[in-house]
């Protein structure tokens, strides 16, 4: 069952930037594009595990800070000719609040 979890206000994430949501099984990176769309991916690059949240966001993509893989925010796929995929999560904005859907999550503490 998918459940939407509120993780905070949109303006807590910089435009063309990202924040992380911490979980016991690793960080999830939540990205914000120039026109205020949000996307969520595991904060692990499919190449060598680089933290995607620390990369430069351009259009609907992020460049990994370690070796410049470019990853599609919408589905986590590496842009060809690179290969690999970071797990993605449904995310949305409603009235300035960001929601994330993580299947197993039960409680959230927002700060």
């Amino acid at each position: 069952m998918t459940r939407w979890i509120e993780i905070g206000a949109l303006d807590q994430i910089p435009r063309l930037g990202a924040r992380v949501v911490r979980t016991a099984s690793g960080n999830i990176a939540v990205f914000r594009t120039e026109d205020d769309e949000v996307f969520a991916l595991d904060d692990r690059c499919p190449h060598k595990g680089g933290p995607l949240s620390q990369g430069i966001v351009h259009n609907k993509r992020v460049t990994c800070p370690l070796h410049n893989f470019v990853i599609e925010l919408a589905n986590g796929e590496a842009v060809a000719p690179d290969e690999g995929c970071a797990h993605s999560y449904p995310a949305k904005v409603e009235n300035g609040t960001v929601w994330l859907s993580v299947r197993e999550a039960v409680t959230a503490s927002v700060d």
Partner: protein, 819 residues
């Protein structure tokens, strides 16, 4: 359909390489500005005329050389009227008139009618079997003749003539090349290379009659032979005239547009009638006409920019290079190689290997090059020729090419042509030659960017870029010379770093989106490579005014620490001039204990690195270091890193000046300044040079009578000793000169271009003139540096640790507990 009506009408005469390249570029810049109609006499879409030679020789088919299919014109809403010739331009009514009398109106007109082969006015020139070599129809006629007739004569021993002769020979004909002079391709080759070329073509079976003047073409209803001035007659069933081309200006002339040899255009590619533009072989720009595609593509770019009403690009002429497209013959020529009193030559000839190289120099710069037999370095010489590189430093080894100039790790390798497939080209990503060659062939790669994307070669440190370019050049052969003249910043734009820097100043652009909009960026927010560059250019151009864009900074500069492979960070506090105190060391030790920092290491820059700090601990770590008086060492910055020093006169028995003290002064004065790339300095107390000043971006060597200032050294990817800049008498003057030099670099350097590369590009003399000879200019540069420092000398660690700047950056947004 209202908007359609309001669009302007652009009519293009000539469906060839220059005209359509202009249209393609225009569509990228302003897809909706015009309704476009293209007229072309030839009954096809647009094709790559250059490749008619391999079509003639049977190495390619007509289908292989099509560039834009009719579908492409449809898809882009362009009306293609192929097989229709324009016979008149009516400038009064702004209409063009076709051969059948139809009239089409224009708001803007682009003339791209190319040129026609010159047909010598000889008796018999109109006989069937006498043709030029210009279009698909000519090739079809030649192929047809070769199936039914044995003998061909080609008049003209230039590039086109030899390619025609080679093709006809491959088709089984006996070919004689007739040339007026005794030197083949005299416009591109010197007599030595020309002789070598003749010899190897003769070995393949080509026959030459030269010098020889043709007097008449013989025959009744078809050509049967050729007669020369000396009375000799040769049998011929096909005569190809390849004696030159004449710009096709007839239409323009009739319309009263000013023409000389070609249609005269300005730097904006406009004719004397402001509504009428012209590009390609039909134009004459600054007294020059061109017959190769590279310059025409440069013109097309400028013209498209103008037609898109951007109006900032201008054309200032091109230098061209030539390769002969005869498989198995390697020949490259570029620039001006005629002998002259003001020129010097470096010549290498190895008759046994069939290799000849002649590099012509003027004022320490390459102005011309002729290569025969081994041409892999052609593009490399050509690049230096166009860049106007000062080559005095590499003069002795110049003739041996790029591979012999000591690029880190690659020295000693002769040329990529000689390397085996398993030879490693890119050390960072472990890519060998075979992999690159295979990718180029299979994936049809044409540019260095393509190769980077597909193989990762040259995508990291870049020191192998020259080698990868060589692999490209020799794998692609002739096609590579069509590479654009100026290197674009990245795939998001066609413009170069210089263009961006210039436009920012000229147009007073003050934000990244404004620059991208004005310069027609092709992507929505650029990419990781152009955004940081633009951010730097804006910062350096508008100190105190431009607001640094954090999201356009690489992570290290955004969080003021260096990211490590496991996502943790390293922290390097400044140790001014490499000098520390027991208190500082205690604070470092305490911080390491308190935050369980796994590694404490002495760096190569005379300071201490704390490695493995968690991102969320960074502000607290900084707070403790700040408390002990320490600030960021900017170990991550494209800006001043370290100023290494030796102990100097304070302790050392050889010290001539207080090198430690001077180093500290320089570091305190210059820290915090952003630059195109990292800047490392050093001060040594005497010529024993224990601070290694002669391999830094800026190095000072103290001597008894003062301070020798050196610059443009490096010891990383590339090892390069410094250049001597000047000797000065006092510490004050040292500071002024170094600051002025750094400011000049800040204003001219391309992003990520280290000081030594900038110096290579703009020239040592040019830099000396501005900061050593011209004292007023030096002072002005110094003042601009000081002005910008007032906005940059605030410790980024304190801002974050104490004043809560970017607090969000260091904390997670939320924590989720999972079931």
């Amino acid at each position: 359909m209202l908007e359609k009506v309001s669009r302007q009408k652009l009519v293009v005469i000539g469906n060839g390489m220059a005209g359509i390249r202009t249209v393609e570029t225009l569509l990228e810049r302003a897809p909706d500005l015009y309704d476009i109609t293209v007229f072309g006499s030839e009954p096809y879409g647009n094709y790559n005329r250059i490749l008619l030679s391999p079509v003639l020789s049977g190495e390619k088919s007509v289908d292989d050389i099509m560039l834009n299919t009719e579908q492409w014109y449809d898809d882009n809403g362009i009306t293609l009227r192929k097989g229709e010739t324009i016979v008149m331009i009516d400038r009064r009514t702004c209409e063009v008139v076709t051969a059948t009398g139809a009239r089409v109106a224009y708001d803007r007109l682009l003339i791209a009618t190319g040129s026609n082969p010159i047909m010598l006015p000889l008796p018999g020139k109109d006989l069937p079997g006498v043709i030029g070599f210009r279009d698909i129809q000519d090739v079809e006629r030649m192929v047809e003749a070769s199936t039914s007739h044995p003998n061909a004569v080609v008049i003209g021993g230039g590039l086109l003539g030899l390619e025609a002769a080679n093709g006809l020979m491959k088709r089984g004909m006996n070919v004689t090349v007739v040339h007026l002079l005794d030197c083949l391709m005299e416009r591109q080759l010197d007599p030595v290379a020309s002789g070598m070329l003749r010899k190897s073509l003769e070995e393949r079976g080509m026959v030459f009659k030269m010098p020889a003047q043709t007097q008449a073409i013989l025959g009744e209803d078809r050509v049967t032979g050729v007669r020369f001035a000396d009375g000799v007659e040769l049998p011929a069933d096909l005569v190809v005239m390849a004696v030159g081309i004449r710009p096709n200006i007839e239409l323009a002339q009739k319309a009263g547009i000013h023409c000389e040899r070609g249609i005269v255009v300005s730097d904006t590619m406009q004719t004397y009638d402001g509504r009428i533009y012209a590009v390609g072989e039909c134009v004459q720009h600054r007294r020059q006409t061109y017959g190769l595609v590279a310059p025409l593509f440069d013109q097309a770019k400028v013209c498209a920019n103008q037609l898109a009403m951007k109006g900032f690009a201008s054309y200032s002429g091109s230098v061209v290079s030539t390769k002969l497209k005869v498989t198995g013959i390697d020949l490259f020529s570029a620039g001006d190689f005629a002998p002259g009193a003001d020129k010097e030559e470096v010549v290498m000839q190895d008759a046994a290997r069939g290799v000849y190289k002649r590099i012509v120099l003027r004022d320490k710069k390459i102005v011309g090059a002729v290569l025969y037999g081994d041409t892999v370095d052609g593009p490399w010489y050509f690049q230096h020729l166009r860049d106007g590189t000062d080559i005095s430093q590499m003069r002795e080894r110049l003739v041996f090419g790029a591979a012999n100039l000591g690029d880190g790790g690659h020295a000693g390798q002769n040329s990529v042509a000689a390397m085996g497939d398993e030879a490693e080209i890119c050390g960072c990503n472990g890519v060998c030659k075979g992999t690159i060659v295979k990718a180029i062939a299979e994936k049809k790669l044409f540019t260095i960017d393509d190769v980077r994307a597909h193989t990762k070669a040259s995508s990291s440190c870049g020191s192998c870029t020259g080698l990868v370019e060589q692999v490209l050049a020799f794998t692609l052969g002739g096609d590579y010379s069509t590479a654009p003249k100026v290197k674009p910043m990245c795939k998001c734009t066609d413009h170069s770093h210089d263009d961006a820097r210039r436009v920012i100043v000229e147009q007073q652009l003050k934000t990244i989106p404004d620059v991208m909009k004005f310069m027609d960026w092709k992507t929505a927010n650029g990419c990781h490579s152009c955004r940081p560059a633009l951010n730097y250019y804006l910062l350096a151009t508008w100190p105190g005014e431009y607001r640094d864009d954090q999201q356009s900074r690489y992570i290290n500069e955004r969080v003021h620490a260096n990211i490590q492979k496991d996502g943790t960070y390293s922290v390097v506090p400044r140790m001014w001039g490499g000098v520390t105190t027991p208190n500082e060391l205690r604070a470092i030790a305490d911080v390491a204990d308190k935050f369980k920092i796994p590694t404490v290491k002495v760096t190569g820059g005379q300071r201490i690195d704390l490695l493995g700090v968690k991102k969320e601990d960074l502000p607290a770590v900084w707070a403790d270091l700040n408390d002990a008086g320490m600030v960021s060492g900017h170990a991550y910055a494209k800006g001043l890193r370290t100023v290494k020093t030796c102990v100097g006169s304070e302790w050392c028995r050889f010290g001539t000046q207080d090198s430690t003290g001077l180093g500290i002064k320089i570091e305190r004065f210059m820290w915090g300044s952003w630059a195109p790339a990292k800047v490392k300095m050093a001060v040594s107390g005497c010529p024993r040079n224990c601070a290694e000043s002669t391999c830094k971006d800026v190095g000072v060597i103290c001597v008894d009578s003062g301070y020798e200032i050196h610059f443009a050294g490096a010891a990383g990817l590339h090892i390069k000793g410094t250049e001597f800049l000047a000797k000065v008498a006092t510490e004050e003057e040292t500071l002024e000169l170094i600051a002025a030099l750094t400011q000049l670099y800040r204003e001219q350097g391309w992003y990520l271009e280290r000081m030594y590369k900038w110096c290579d590009r703009v020239g040592l003399d040019a830099i000396r003139k501005q900061v050593v000879d011209d004292l007023t200019n030096r002072k002005a540069l110094y003042d601009r540096f000081v002005y910008s420092q007032q906005f940059s000398q605030s410790d980024p660690w304190a801002e974050r640790a104490q004043r809560g700047v970017d607090r969000n950056e260091f904390a997670p947004m939320a924590e989720l507990e999972l079931a």
